[in-house]
Symmetry: C2
């Protein structure tokens, strides 16, 4: 029996994450990840919840998103810099850590740029499972950037969407999206306007990236019975929907103290009624309750979703071995002797030079 290497933290690189997603299969990955999210949303009350810790600057934001269920602790580092694409950089990059609450020791470090795209899509699809109209097959996908295909795949795997109506102000983004999704079982139409995209859609997903108040959807574009999955409005000053749509919708959110600052509902009064999605998933509150009801998932992304994703990746590593070992933690033979560890490293160096 080999002793556990106390200094080592498993690390999932971008390359290993891609291999992991491909080994599992993208549809199965988001489906299993969605199950982890649902499990954690059912035990929502257990979690230590706090709004993300954001550091805003002129060009963007850097955030830390921690949470804990009392046994595990997770946090994500994530930035949002809309200008980055012009410099050939990602708008959003992320990495995360899962740690043991009992010892405080990190147990996993992983890239989370790809993983966040997957968990955001899984979260959207979980919400739609409870909120979208029965038998929904057609989704309008407005905003065809980095998140778009992940949304499509998750909605196919979890909700049964197989008809996509794409729209982006930049038509090359729509073509990229359609090309990437070719052969995956979708009937895809590229549309010339948002108005055209929403025609006949059961679900409208808005996932644009501009850091400003925008109106991707106006009131006349939203008919009765539709479910709106609003992903892109996710920080102060960034919204996608006209206020009148919000007033006609039943609104579902992740964590109200965060969504009231960051979500579409920053346009509404601070006491405007909303339903916490976990209450729906746990069976404490109704989801969709009528055919003509407009439901809106005002998603901003919450730490518990990242926690679920970190748990899922950790569980998958056992079987796949798709990780590296990172020498991240100082581990002297005698815990109080950190300085002595330095001295012994010095002695070992000297010996190596002599020998």
């Amino acid at each position: 029996m080999s002793a556990p290497k106390l200094n080592i933290v498993p690390f999932v690189s971008v390359d290993h994450m891609m291999k992991l997603v491909l080994a599992v299969g993208i549809e199965r990955f988001v489906t299993e990840l969605a199950d982890y999210i649902e499990d954690d949303f059912r035990r929502w009350e257990l979690f230590d919840k706090t709004p993300r810790v954001a550091s805003h600057s002129h060009d963007g934001v850097i955030e830390l998103m921690p949470t804990s269920d009392g046994k595990l602790y997770g946090f994500k580092y994530v930035n949002g810099h809309p200008k980055n694409t012009r410099a050939g950089l990602q708008t959003v990059t992320a990495f995360g850590v899962l740690a043991d609450v009992g010892s405080g020791y990190p147990m996993l470090l992983t890239e989370m740029t790809i993983l966040t795209a997957l968990r955001t899509a899984a979260m959207s699809a979980v919400a739609a499972k409870y909120l979208a109209p029965q038998g929904a097959r057609t989704m309008a996908l407005i905003g065809n950037g980095a998140q778009a295909e992940f949304q499509a795949v998750a909605f196919k795997a979890i909700v049964g969407i197989d008809r996509l109506r794409l729209y982006d102000v930049d038509s090359s983004a729509s073509r990229k999206c359609a090309k990437n999704l070719a052969g995956m079982g979708f009937d895809i139409v590229i549309c010339a306007s948002g108005q055209e995209a929403v025609e006949g859609a059961d679900i409208i997903t808005t996932v644009t990236a501009d850091k400003q108040y925008a109106t991707i959807l106006t009131d006349n574009m939203v008919g009765p019975g539709v479910h709106i999955n609003a992903i892109g409005g996710d920080c102060p000053g960034k919204t996608e929907l006209h206020r009148d749509i919000l007033l006609r919708s039943d609104i579902f959110v992740e964590f109200p103290p965060q969504t009231r600052i960051e979500g579409e509902i920053q346009q509404l009064a601070a006491d405007h009624p909303v339903t916490e999605l976990w209450q729906v998933i746990a069976g404490h509150a109704p989801g969709r309750s009528g055919e003509r009801q407009i439901t809106l998932f005002d998603s901003v992304g919450f730490a518990i979703e990242d926690f679920s994703a970190l748990r899922y990746v950790r569980d998958k590593l056992r079987d796949t071995g798709l990780y590296e070992e990172l020498d991240l933690l100082a581990d002297p033979d005698e815990p109080r002797d950190l300085f002595g560890m330095l001295l012994r490293a010095e002695a070992a160096q000297a010996k190596a030079v002599v020998g």
Copy 2:
């Protein structure tokens, strides 16, 4: 000219950090690090300051400590679990990240268990430079665990301390400390009590680890003119000094909103006067002002000190090359095409199998 590898983040492992410290030399490392801390304390007002984000549990705490000067962003993950030593684990482990505010991209990931020990010692010595009595040579060092030798070395390099009086409830810790410091130019006495250790000391450093209210120093042990460097009292419910000592001392702190919760002054009224150390370093407030004055640095550790340490390590890497390259950031050729990156990885895999 090779293109910058946008997916790569330099990573300093524990092994590389030890090599870096030894290559620079421990005394020079803490001295140069102290200069970075002083530089950052002089421009204190520039920083985005927030109390650490703590997740407390029965056995300890996990904290995130972010800050930014508007150009760089840094944060540290650090735990504190006093029970860990009994399981052969470190009480405190840490790692940190430095990032570019303009793009949100991480620029450095580094172990910070060793680095925190060095920055804590450098910070203490910087404070003593302004607060300790002139010509101080003798320091009582109460608590001889993992931080003790680092304190000794920093006080020697920066303040001129060459006589140490060690005391720990566990005498084996004192012997470990004395052994590690042998041959480094100290006159060392191991004492049988705290009372004995403080005899003739110009500076008293308390650095014990119990997570509870303790009284390492009682009022009668502290004579006029002494500087107290209180390191161990650093979270709610954890203090080391009797309240009467605080009432006789002029108290200097890092960031009052944090220190009032975590420091020795949690024993005092919320409006008890304290001086912010940066004001002293910047020349806006006096440090030591008299021979009989008792000065107290009520240190809890603040994010700006970690930021200074991250800056210092980053600057040192350029010359030494003591780091690895971590594939941490997804970097698709086309930033909006994260999904396409996955598909291309799949195609590459298939080709490798065929070929």
